[in-house]
Symmetry: C2
Subunit: 219 residues, 2 copies
DNA sequence: TGTACATCAGTGAACGCGCGTTCACTGATGTAC
DNA sequence: TGTACATCAGTGAACGCGCGTTCACTGATGTAC
């Protein structure tokens, strides 16, 4: 039943956007009354939190699955697969993407300690691949700026699928993430008119540029 | 009076976010009644449109001013100044940034033909600098993907401060824009915990990488 | 097998609030003779 | 200079709607004796 409520919520978010979500509309579509929902989510914000966690989990699942579909020793292939899966997930679920990375919902305060695990997990695939590349000497790290001492502790909080990743890998991962996030978020907002439906080609090109910049040429 | 209404609206957007904007709250803060606003904006959406245009204009102003504060022959300096001004504007007015580049407002349909001029102008500073670099042979363009024929026309619609820019310059500008947008939008959403308040350093580093990748080494 | 009881998901009414928008109006201002 | 009039920004009441949340309740289900 919890699942049915969330599913209905997702359908409405997909259609009208996250900021328009309402318990009464959900209840109406499900053929029940609004107070019935309170048996499953004590407050509206708890439903929103559950949706955010589910969205991060779904993104994380697709990231990890994409990574693991490529042999463990083909790190470059894993990087590419993870990157393509990121855009794929976003264009498939643009409103979920907006919910977790877009404008905050008015009046909703994200409970960081609840959301953090699934959020961190959603990036763990990328981070683990970058760390793998670093360990095998394929990461171009010479010119990276040092990580300031005061941020080291927050770096260490980022779980990376069990194993730890070095600060330098996390820096590179954040930069790559910001690049793909930039393209994807502009694309799903319809803000790149010249490319329009050809977002895929532009995206693949950016991934080549990322590779040129962060990956050592194979000898 | 129109200006006073918009100013009050901006104050509320800054505090509660764009999706929470309401005519009645604006009127309340101004000490007038809600219907009075209808003398200046026939519908709520017209106010929103005016705000979006003002935001783009403000961003465009700051971009062009930053560019023009650097001598015309120092193209690299102009690129850097424009890039830094972009982040500066976003961190100064995060809610304006969300309004124009974030999650669409529920029920609001952007009137593209009205908004487009100010939107295009907001990118014209960057585009003009890139085009200048291309014309002086400083743009690394060898590996850029060709612009598909069907998008040439939409490229030509992008005004670039009077002069035209080549498709290749526009492609590079879009890529650079996406990179800075990615970092900035993650930063103002508080999504880069490891860097936190040090967004500036990370941003400057990305700008160095952009330069490495798109600008020819000076002989 | 039959009855008494507890459980508990869901109901319907209500509270208090907010919203955009319309409408006939007031009342100050400024203009025309 | 004095009066009649037009203009028009702003008012207050109302319309119809939606929202999250509370509360006492119903009525089906399943369990215990």
């Amino acid at each position: 039943m919890q699942a049915a409520i969330k599913e209905t919520a997702w359908r409405q978010i997909a259609e009208f956007g996250a900021p328009a979500l309402s318990l009464r509309t959900i209840a109406r579509e499900m053929g029940i009354t609004a107070p019935a929902i309170y048996n499953y989510f004590p407050r509206r914000d708890d439903l929103v939190t559950a949706l955010i966690i589910d969205a991060f989990t779904s993104l994380g699942d697709s990231q990890l699955a994409a990574r693991d579909a490529v042999p463990e020793d083909d790190l470059l292939g894993r990087l590419l697969a993870t990157g393509l899966a990121y855009r794929q997930w976003a264009v498939t679920y643009p409103q979920r993407y907006h919910l977790i990375f877009g404008t905050p919902l008015p009046g909703y305060e994200t409970p960081e300690e609840q959301v953090h695990p699934s959020g961190a997990r959603s990036l763990s695939a990328l981070i683990s691949v970058i760390e793998g590349l670093r360990l095998s000497g394929q990461l171009r790290v010479a010119d990276l700026p040092p990580v300031k001492a005061e941020y080291r502790s927050s770096f260490e909080e980022w779980p990376t699928d069990g194993s730890q990743a070095s600060p330098v890998s996390l820096s590179v991962a954040v930069l790559i993430w910001a690049r793909v996030h930039g393209l994807v978020s502009l694309e799903i907002s319809g803000k790149i008119p010249p490319f329009g439906p050809d977002g895929d080609a532009l995206y693949r090109f950016e991934m080549e540029l990322i590779q040129q910049q962060f990956i050592e040429d194979q000898p």
